[in-house]
């Protein structure tokens, strides 16, 4: 790669010119928006910008205020609960559904179509539908009560302690189809002979899954994990549609905190600090993965 710069060659920049012209949008996006924009936000998170971004640095003040704000703490707690549970549930449900689908069943296409269609819908639609289904006056709660169980209480959207589970239910409905599809693709990639060998050895099916197939699907699991995890950090529209952060501040999430401080409370510095914290969260997820993925490939 480096040996190309030989003496006598015409201008290096003009080599492969068309390709470079075609790549200008990518280069600009990568450098200006992704690198530049991120760096800009991180730098301005150390300023006391209010309505307009100003370069008057105040050190870590914004971060101190951020971590002292009850709303931010609630947002982080919600994100943690929501994140851990949605990771666990979507992986488990997605894998179980994929394993069931892999039993050479009939109507496989129909089932897949049904499991996956919510993924085509936006988070706004998802949030509004589940807002309606979980409506305490008309939804699931009232239906169960009208069946005779009059003390039945299931009102997640108006109960601060469990509101995040109401959001989780909607999120799982929307997202597990995708996990199922990825897992199914992974299962289909497993060699038939593995199954035959396991059967010959008399290993029960669940053991084969648990101790042979799942370890073999490690790359699929890791990719899925990264996709779900980076989606979790971004969760925003769903909360806006389903609860608008309420009741009170019980279902606030970091992405909403960022938006509200940047565009409504006109406290840019807080918004920048909060978004930088989001960036750090994603970096904690992505960097080990990128290291495993790309670092590992080089060694191989």
């Amino acid at each position: 790669m480096t040996g190309q710069a030989k003496a006598g060659r015409p201008n290096q920049l003009l080599r492969n010119l068309n390709s470079k012209i075609a790549s200008i949008p990518m280069i600009l996006t990568a450098l200006v928006i992704f690198l530049g924009g991120t760096a800009w936000t991180v730098v301005y998170s150390f300023t006391n910008s209010k309505l307009l971004p100003r370069l008057s640095f105040v050190g870590f003040d914004q971060y101190k205020r951020l971590w002292a704000a009850p709303r931010w703490i609630v947002s982080i707690e919600n994100l943690a609960v929501y994140g851990v549970l949605s990771l666990i549930f979507s992986l488990v449900i997605g894998f179980v559904l994929a394993a069931l689908m892999d039993q050479k069943i009939r109507f496989e296409n129909t089932f897949r179509t049904i499991f996956l269609y919510p993924f085509a819908l936006s988070f706004i639609v998802t949030g509004l539908v589940w807002q309606w289904v979980l409506n305490p006056e008309f939804g699931v709660q009232s239906v169960v009560r009208s069946l005779g169980w009059s003390s039945f209480t299931f009102d997640p959207l108006y109960t601060p302690e469990i509101v995040i589970y109401g959001i989780l239910i909607a999120a799982l409905w929307q997202g597990t189809g995708l996990v199922m599809c990825l897992m199914l693709a992974g299962l289909r990639g497993i060699d038939e002979d593995i199954w035959k060998a396991a059967r010959v050895d008399g290993i029960p099916m669940w053991k084969t899954y648990l101790f042979i197939v799942i370890p073999m699907m490690r790359p699929v699991f890791i990719t899925t994990l990264v996709i779900i995890a980076s989606g979790i950090v971004k969760v925003y529209d769903l909360v806006v549609a389903q609860t608008s952060g309420g009741p009170g501040i019980a279902s606030e999430v970091p992405a909403k905190y960022v938006y509200d401080y940047m565009f409504q409370a006109q406290n840019l510095g807080q918004g920048f600090a909060a978004s930088t914290m989001m960036l750090i969260t994603v970096a904690i997820i992505i960097i080990p993965w990128a290291y495993l993925e790309f670092g590992g490939r080089k060694r191989a």
Binding site: M26, L97, L116, S122, V143, A185, V226
Partner: protein, 311 residues
């Protein structure tokens, strides 16, 4: 055997029908415990996934009095299309009372150019990365792909400033540019991997015959890559149509896309809640991606798999 004995003693009389065992080949049992478990679980899961869609449709076809009386799962006694008409043409958001139709046309005017623009840029770009690498091209590509994981919130404000400086903040043009930018990582990845998988001999033969960058792209690569363009289109149409954050940040209220307008209609605090209109509006908003999904079928799966599993 022990069972039969137990039965006998318990009843005090033997069941007279002790015929010799079944003969002939063992019939293939369709209703085995395993199958009951398997299909039972699948049907329950399918019901969970279908339920909200069913509730949406049923609710949107009822009148408000019926909704207040009945439960949300019961089918409508009296089917009415009033809520649909109202949701489309007269539902209010703030001062405007022209329904979701405004948002629908805004979304169309956003989605069509964004899809074309992002695919045009990304396909050429992916082709350059696959066949015409230059010094640094892989590095820029790596930044682009890693950048796809950065939360949008981190980059929103700088983009607002750039668009404001260009004088297009709040307009459809600005939003279209933003969509084209953020569609780039995934689409470039998609096209790069696809073009890299095509036989290199074709490309080399064309080069020996003297074809250049654009000639090879338009005459050789494009005709061979229709499927991947369809996949990219599905990915972008659903993605851009479903977007909420960019719509709310980068446009003025009169240009709000359908998702933003839907949220404003349903979650507006003033007035009596009309659940049937809300559900009709929700279905209308979900209709475009749903149609794309049901029509495209396997290609949709391929699209998200391509989007999800990086090469």
């Amino acid at each position: 055997m022990p069972d039969a004995i137990a039965l006998k003693t318990a009843d005090g009389r033997a069941s007279g029908k002790s015929v010799s065992g079944p003969s002939g080949p063992k019939p293939k049992r369709v209703i085995s415990p395993r199958n009951i478990m398997l299909y039972g679980t699948l049907f329950v899961a399918a019901a969970y996934y279908l339920l909200p869609l069913y509730v949406m449709i049923v609710t949107s076809l009822k009148g408000m009095p019926e909704i207040r009386l009945g439960n949300i799962f019961s089918p409508p006694v009296e089917i009415t299309f009033e809520p649909w008409v109202k949701a489309w043409a007269t539902a209010c958001t703030g001062l405007n009372c022209d329904g979701l139709s405004r948002g629908f046309w805004n979304s169309v005017r956003i989605t069509v150019p964004s899809v074309i623009g992002s695919i045009a840029i990304a396909s050429v770009n992916g082709y350059a990365l696959a066949n015409w690498r230059f010094k640094g091209s892989e590095l820029f590509f790596a930044i682009l792909v890693v950048g796809a994981f950065i939360p949008y919130q981190v980059m929103i404000y700088p983009i607002v400033i750039v668009l404001r400086e260009m004088g297009i903040y709040g307009t459809l043009t600005g939003l279209i540019i933003v969509h084209s930018i953020f569609g780039m990582p995934i689409l470039t990845l998609l096209f790069r991997n696809y073009f890299a998988s095509l036989p290199q001999e074709l490309f080399k033969a064309a080069r020996i015959d003297g074809a250049g960058f654009w000639q090879i792209f338009f005459k050789i690569m494009l005709p061979m890559s229709l499927p991947i363009f369809v996949v990219a289109m599905i990915l972008q149409v659903t993605g851009i149509w479903n977007d909420f954050l960019f719509g709310v940040v980068f446009t003025r209220p009169e240009y709000y896309p359908m998702t933003v307008q839907l949220n404003n209609i349903v979650n507006s605090v003033q007035g009596v809640k009309e659940y049937n209109v809300n559900m009709a509006a929700t279905i209308l908003t979900g209709l475009v991606p749903l149609v794309v999904y049901f029509v495209s079928g396997r290609l949709f799966v391929r699209g998200i798999a391509a989007g999800a599993v990086k090469g």
